[in-house]
């Protein structure tokens, strides 16, 4: 590793997080018919931190920017502003061999286990393909053994090496996708809705596998999901996104049990729960839908659907601020909810 391109921003006395994202903004230019070009700000000043061996849940509705953020983390998109630091180093400043070495360390598991595996490659080739780029990682004569090891690690059989994706069930394919991500011994795996295409009975198997692998390998996950019960189960910390901004972040239990941002509260309250006692909960039913990211509201982006909105919300975008007594738990709201107040 060479010297970091820029000095780290981590405060003195704290260890440098594995992944540190500060103030990242990403704007896309989209052609929109006769009305000309429009700017779509997919990410607007996003901060995110990931420690070694931890799982960060990323929650939000479609169009909130979570997939763009994942793409920035994987260096598939370059941010317009802000910094990404991986162990203090800006990966966007790396070139050549250094860049290659960095890329190995952040991998991805995709949502659709049908579309994300090449139907013309057998399991062995799918898992081994990354080694054709990262040549020095596994010596050629050890590759067969390593493939067998990886297959067994994800709960498949070594004898599955010659089978093709279409011979596997959905859950088995997702295991194969996980084995491919593990082939490069990454430090971070970005999981983009890894279980939402799977049936419930199979979903539990894959979630258990991800948990086991983390305990064995110490890998960190950025876990993107719209399913709150899944996020609650896997994540140590959770960040909630709305229209390109992080509106709330904190330890999972704090965010779920005492949401501070009205959007978080509404999102949690909207998700159906499996409660057989028959008691119907009071539900916060938001009006309308998420506004177009091409034309987001001024000030706080949630104000158009918020029952607490006042004049100030239209003028000033609220910053992410820690909540009293819970320094790790922050929300971006002028009128954050009080203790246990879900309306």
């Amino acid at each position: 590793m060479t010297e970091p391109a820029t000095p780290t921003l981590a405060p003195r006395g704290t260890s440098v997080p594995l992944l540190d994202v500060t103030g990242v903004t990403k704007t896309f230019h989209v052609a929109r018919g006769a009305s000309g070009r429009h700017r779509l700000r997919a990410l607007d000043g996003v901060d995110l931190r990931l420690e070694r061996g931890e799982t960060l849940g990323l929650v939000g509705e479609s169009g909130c920017g979570k997939s763009t953020l994942a793409r920035v983390l994987l260096m598939l998109e370059r941010p317009d502003q802000g910094h990404v630091r991986f162990e203090g180093t800006d990966p966007f400043a790396l070139r050549g061999k250094e860049l290659l070495r960095w890329r190995r360390r952040v991998q991805m598991v995709f949502q659709d286990p049908f579309a994300s595996l090449n139907a013309r490659l057998c399991a062995e080739d799918i898992i081994g393909e990354p080694w054709r780029t990262h040549r020095d990682l596994v010596p050629a004569k050890e590759r067969g053994r390593r493939v067998a090891e990886l297959l067994e690690m994800v709960g498949l059989r070594a004898s599955d090496a010659r089978r093709y994706p279409q011979e596997f069930s959905g859950g088995q394919r997702q295991r194969l996708g996980i084995a491919r991500a593990l082939a490069l011994r990454p430090d971070v795996i970005v999981c983009d809705e890894p279980v939402s295409a799977l049936d419930l009975s199979v979903q539990a198997q894959v979630l258990n596998l991800l948990t086991d692998l983390q305990a064995r390998l110490g890998v960190s996950y950025v876990f993107i999901s719209h399913d709150l019960s899944v996020v609650r189960h896997v994540a140590d910390r959770v960040s909630v996104m709305y229209l390109g901004k992080i509106v709330e972040t904190g330890p999972t239990a704090q965010v779920f049990d005492r949401p501070r941002h009205p959007y978080t509260a509404a999102l949690m309250s909207a998700a159906p729960v499996l409660d057989v006692s028959g008691a119907r909960r009071e539900r916060i039913l938001l009006q309308g839908e998420v506004p177009s990211p091409l034309d987001p509201p001024s000030g706080c982006r949630f104000r158009t659907r918020c029952w607490k909105a006042q004049d100030v919300c239209a003028q000033e975008a609220p910053p992410l601020e820690p909540s009293p007594g819970e320094p790790a738990h922050a929300a971006a709201c002028h009128f954050p909810l009080q203790e246990a107040a879900t309306r």
Partner: protein, 327 residues
């Protein structure tokens, strides 16, 4: 709610022709719903729940056909009627809301024209009167500025609004039975809640019987009165939702409930069902669930368990349901 069921499905069977031969996708499915009541058909992908719904409304894919059974709407077997008569009866009496509103709506016709169609056909209203009805409907399902948007096309609406349009279309003629096939699966959570609320209101308002087809246990727990759990084309358990979910009497239902991450502590191992649902070409002999079942014994491979009464108002198709009654 004591009157006789408005819809009765009796030993319905559906076959699909595939290149590898004909397979039975729905086997001996029976259930009944009463006015104002919600029945959930719960199951994972490929269990035959959507196929059952399509057979009921008569919209099966050409490769599939009904191989037996009856679908009785207020006592009349729709499957025994000639097509014209069936349309006359089922058109206004029975309707369905599909999952994907964009493909279910006609992209080259204005929403107003589509919403007016049922009134034109079944009530023979004039163009103008039908259009007026369309505007009223749009207003009822919560579409803002209906008069201004009646001439818009489906692609000009958001996902949630399109689902509202589809619901409007389905409830236009106050059907006696409304089927909803994963009506909110394609939508974001906050919009999902709005749509479920709308369905609930309409059901109460019109005293419709609602058949909710879903894979989501939480949706069932919140919305349905009764549930029928399907596995590999057949019903494995039925009963009131509160009973079935608190004391499942089929190992599959039990396994599903255990797979839900909600109640388990962070990071703790979830109980899961080993393996995955069978391919219709290779459904195991005897009990279809036996290959994944922790309780399976020799008899399970030989005899297919029938649905038997396993408590007041509930049935299970398991040889050993009694072993599940405690805890």
């Amino acid at each position: 709610m004591n009157e006789s069921p408005v819809l009765e499905v009796d030993r319905l069977a559906v076959d699909i022709r595939t290149p590898a031969g004909t397979v039975r996708a729905v086997r001996e499915v029976s259930f009944a719903v009463r006015s104002g009541e919600t029945l959930a058909l719960l199951g994972e992908s490929g269990c035959g729940k959507s196929m059952t719904a399509q057979a009921i409304v008569g919209l099966l894919d050409p490769v599939a056909h009904v191989a037996g059974g009856a679908v009785r709407l207020e006592g009349t077997d729709l499957l025994a009627l000639p097509p014209a008569q069936r349309r006359k009866l089922a058109g206004p009496g029975l309707s369905i809301v599909f999952q994907d509103a964009l493909t279910a709506l006609n992209p080259v016709q204005t929403v107003g024209a589509q919403l007016a169609e049922p009134f034109r056909i079944h009530q023979r209203l004039s163009r103008r009167a039908a259009r007026e009805k369309a505007v009223e409907l749009m207003e009822r399902v919560g579409i803002p500025e209906p008069r201004a948007r009646v001439n818009a096309y489906p692609h000009q609406f958001s996902g949630g609004m399109r689902q509202r349009l589809l619901i409007a279309l389905a409830v236009a003629l106050h059907p006696k039975v409304l089927l909803a096939d994963e009506p909110t699966t394609a939508l974001d959570v906050t919009v999902q809640a709005q749509i479920m609320e709308l369905l609930r209101e309409l059901r109460t308002e019109q005293q419709t019987a609602l058949i909710l087809i879903t894979h989501d246990l939480a949706v069932v727990a919140e919305q349905a009165d009764h549930v029928a759990v399907m596995y590999a084309g057949g019903i494995v358990e039925t009963g009131r939702v509160a009973d079935v979910f608190s004391r499942p009497r089929h190992p599959y239902t039990r396994g599903l409930l255990d797979s839900v991450p909600a109640e388990v502590a962070r990071g703790a191992t979830l109980k899961s069902i080993p393996g995955s649902p069978p391919d219709l070409h290779s459904v195991p002999s005897g009990c279809a669930f036996r290959a994944r079942c922790p309780m399976a014994r020799d008899v399970c491979a030989q005899e297919r368990p029938m649905l038997v009464e396993s408590g007041p108002g509930r049935t299970s198709a398991c040889h050993y349901w009694r072993e599940l009654t405690d805890d």
